[in-house]
């Protein structure tokens, strides 16, 4: 027993001396749990995602349509965009605008309320959802939330549709009579003031009268009923021709994770060379420090490029992802992503005192960057400030590049901004790494 206790004490002392291990054991999980919490709505009283950007095109003159827009604006889940803010002067969004903005990645979803929102013939409502479903989870979540919002307002909307039909079939006078009779029947069955009920019915509130208070009532059974009355047309703006959508959506995130881990292993190897005195031997030859660093960087890019290409080809073989249809553009994005990752590896090596610390730091950064950057779950579901942070990660931009190529089939010109950002990240991170190398003790 004594022996075991002594050995255990040794292990604890060892562990506490190894700061990177402590960080990985405690700090990394806490940071990740915090991020998960945002996505799954565990933080505080809030639940569910907020601020998902949603384009809303209202082509209908009906007051009911305006009510629906207002209801959507009232949902904290959505940030409703109803004007084309990219145009000067700004003007209300049209369907064409929405399609263009989705294509330009300003938002992934738009609700179109067409002019025949309440059709002349027949009972029901027509709506159109434009989407770029590049992320499965996000698409399902948004569709679900959109339906919930629409259906919880449907009784109101439907009532108007009903009144419109009634007028058409019965004429004004007879409609009035019908409404009064209906109000009488309703009040005698459920109680309440007959005149007030008649007015509610006339203003289209028949749903409210029949279904109770729509805001608080359980919407689930009604949704089943109303979904037959509401015609929602789904129009996919991007990725229609993608051969294996499910695999195409996830492949980028996975590829980035593995690339980052490969790169971090490389930065730990940097220290093996340093410790073996290899740096001394290399630098005693006609080799400059800067050449030593740049050779590592170039190697990192090559490794990343080969790894990514291999992973995508595996995706082609296993899941039929259309890799060869966009091969040239894919290689361009892979090169830019590999450059950013290689610079990231240099950064870790520059700021770590030894291989152990490099491993700890890279595990921490790879996991948090993958989580915030959207490799694990859609960043659209994160709070807005997290989405802003995401745009500072190379994971986000690499994945953006991959999905632009594989999902949206962007042309080389369309890819340039994303590739440019990745290369700028590579240059910036590499500059900091070199600055640090030159001041640090790596070469001593």
């Amino acid at each position: 027993m004594r022996v075991i206790l002594t050995l255990v004490r040794k292990d604890i002392a060892n562990f506490l001396r190894n700061r990177p291990a402590v960080v990985i054991t405690f700090l990394v999980p806490i940071a990740l749990i915090y991020i998960f919490g945002f996505v799954f709505g565990l933080n505080g009283k809030d639940n569910g995602p907020t601020g998902i950007r949603l384009g809303v095109v209202n082509e209908s003159a009906s007051p009911a349509a305006q009510k629906l827009v207002d209801a959507l604006k009232g949902e904290k889940t959505f940030r409703v965009i109803s004007v084309d803010y990219t145009a000067k002067p700004e003007h209300p969004l049209t369907e064409a605008d929405a399609r263009r903005l989705i294509h330009d990645r300003e938002f992934n979803f738009a609700l179109v309320i067409p002019s025949d929102f309440i059709p002349d013939r027949g009972l029901g409502l027509r709506l159109k959802i434009l989407s770029d479903p590049r992320n499965e989870i996000e698409t399902q979540t948004v569709n679900g939330l959109l339906q919930k919002t629409i259906f919880s307002n449907v009784p109101q909307l439907l009532g108007q549709s009903l009144q419109a039909s009634a007028k058409r079939f019965l004429g004004d006078e007879r409609t009035k009579k019908f409404n009064a009779d209906l109000a009488g029947a309703v009040t005698s069955a459920f109680g309440g003031d007959a005149e007030e009920t008649r007015q509610t019915i006339e203003s289209g509130g028949i749903g409210a009268v029949l279904g109770g208070d729509s805001a608080t009532a359980n919407t689930q059974p009604k949704a089943d009923f109303f979904s037959r009355l509401v015609k929602i047309e789904n129009v996919q703006i991007a990725g229609k021709d993608v051969k294996s959508p499910a695999a195409t959506r996830v492949v980028g995130g996975w590829a980035m994770m593995f690339l980052l881990f490969a790169v971090s292993a490389g930065s730990a190897a940097f220290f093996d060379e340093k410790n073996a005195g290899l740096f001394q031997r290399l630098l005693s030859a006609p080799v400059r420090r800067s050449q030593l660093l740049w050779s590592r960087f170039v190697y990192g890019i090559l490794l990343g490029l080969v790894q990514l290409t291999t992973l995508f080809c595996a995706g082609r073989l296993l899941y039929g992802i259309d890799v060869f249809g966009h091969f040239g553009n894919l290689v361009v994005v892979c090169t830019a992503a590999a450059a950013a990752c290689a610079a990231f590896g240099m950064f870790i090596a520059a700021f770590s005192p030894n291989a152990q610390a490099a491993n700890g730091l890279s595990t921490f950064l790879v996991l948090t960057m993958s989580a915030t950057g959207g490799a694990w779950f859609p960043i659209g579901l994160m709070p807005e400030f997290m989405q802003r942070i995401a745009k500072f990660t190379l994971v986000y931009w690499s994945m953006e590049g991959f999905s632009r190529v594989l999902w949206a089939g962007n042309s080389l010109v369309e890819l340039l901004p994303t590739v440019g950002i990745l290369l700028a990240i590579a240059a910036g991170v590499m500059a900091v790494a070199i600055w640090r190398f030159n001041r640090g003790a790596v070469f001593d």
Binding site: N275, G277, L278, Q280, R281, L283, S284
Partner: protein, 305 residues
């Protein structure tokens, strides 16, 4: 060939070199003898241009050595104290990498590689990974990698640490042969036997200072005694040892007393005292003094400390 003047190097508050001035001539086999932490590796790294000195000057063939200009480094080869090889690569691949860094190409490079592998008896293991080599084989390769480009000056930083006697002798023979061919060598070690066997001139270094400089003979004449007398350290000799202490230096190690007399204390007086203490003459062994003794005399410490 190599001239250093008042070299000073600090690591933070730690003074690693404290005014080292040396002139090393063409064709010399110069030994730098000192214990761990004396500053040997630091001196080598300054000469190799890996670090700048904090003060002092350093010229190789009249050209100042700087960290900035790597082109001057083709004139020298550094054998680092640690085994600085790519251990996942084969012996041949290692040689190829370093040969190419020194600008060797094609047939010439192949020729030099064959020669090098032959010279350290590794030709039959050329395609094996270095990590599968014994310590001695790695040391031999570590040495020969630095000579591919035929430098004029070779810096060997403790090249025989942790090695079997056979490999050690192979390295000695190899270095002596290169030195005879005209290679200038600076060889650092904490083994006085190595300095004694190999070096034409020796500098004794401790705490970053050169305490003595010269050929083996010159150095040993600096000792105030001619011989060392060894005898067993037992209870029977305890009284004798105590009485000897006032006549010279007495050290004890490994169950043995080692006595170095003052010049005025003659050998006859020594034996008279032994007889007084009833110790027979056969207990005593007379030895030539060693560099170890000189080091102890100069610094009050032993080389193994």
């Amino acid at each position: 060939m190599l001239i250093t003047r008042d070299l000073v190097k600090r690591y933070g508050p730690q003074l690693a070199l404290d005014g080292v001035s040396l002139d090393i001539g063409r064709g010399e086999f110069f030994g730098l003898l000192g214990p761990n932490g004396a500053g040997k590796s630091t001196f080598m790294s300054l000469v190799a241009g890996l670090r700048p000195p904090d003060a002092g000057s350093l010229t190789l063939d009249g050209v100042a050595v700087t960290t900035a200009d790597p082109s001057t480094r083709t004139a020298l080869g550094l054998v680092p104290q640690s085994i600085a090889l790519f251990e996942d690569l084969s012996a041949e691949q290692n040689l190829r990498v370093f040969g190419e860094l020194y600008g060797l190409r094609g047939a010439l490079l192949r020729e030099r590689i064959d020669e090098a592998l032959e010279a350290v008896q590794l030709a039959d293991r050329r395609r094996d990974q270095v990590k599968k080599f014994s310590g001695g084989m790695q040391r031999r390769l570590n040495l020969v990698v630095s000579l591919l480009h035929r430098p004029k000056l070779l810096l060997c930083d403790e090249p025989t640490v942790g090695i079997d006697p056979q490999s050690r002798n192979a390295i000695f023979d190899f270095l002596e042969a290169r030195n005879r061919e005209g290679l200038t060598i600076i060889y650092s070690t904490h083994y006085m036997e190595e300095a004694t066997r190999l070096c034409s001139r020796i500098g004794i270094i401790d705490h970053g200072r050169i305490h003595a400089l010269g050929t083996l003979e010159e150095l040993l004449t600096r000792l105030p005694f001619a011989d060392e007398i060894a005898f067993p350290a037992t209870p029977f000799t305890a009284e004798f040892a105590a009485r000897l202490a006032e006549h010279g230096e007495l050290t004890t190690a490994d169950g043995e007393h080692l006595f170095r007399s003052r010049p005025e204390f003659k050998t006859s007086a020594f034996y008279a005292l032994a007889e007084e203490c009833q110790l027979p003459a056969r207990l005593f062994v007379t030895r030539r003094p060693t560099l170890e003794a000189l080091f102890l005399h100069l610094t009050g410490r032993t080389l193994r400390e």
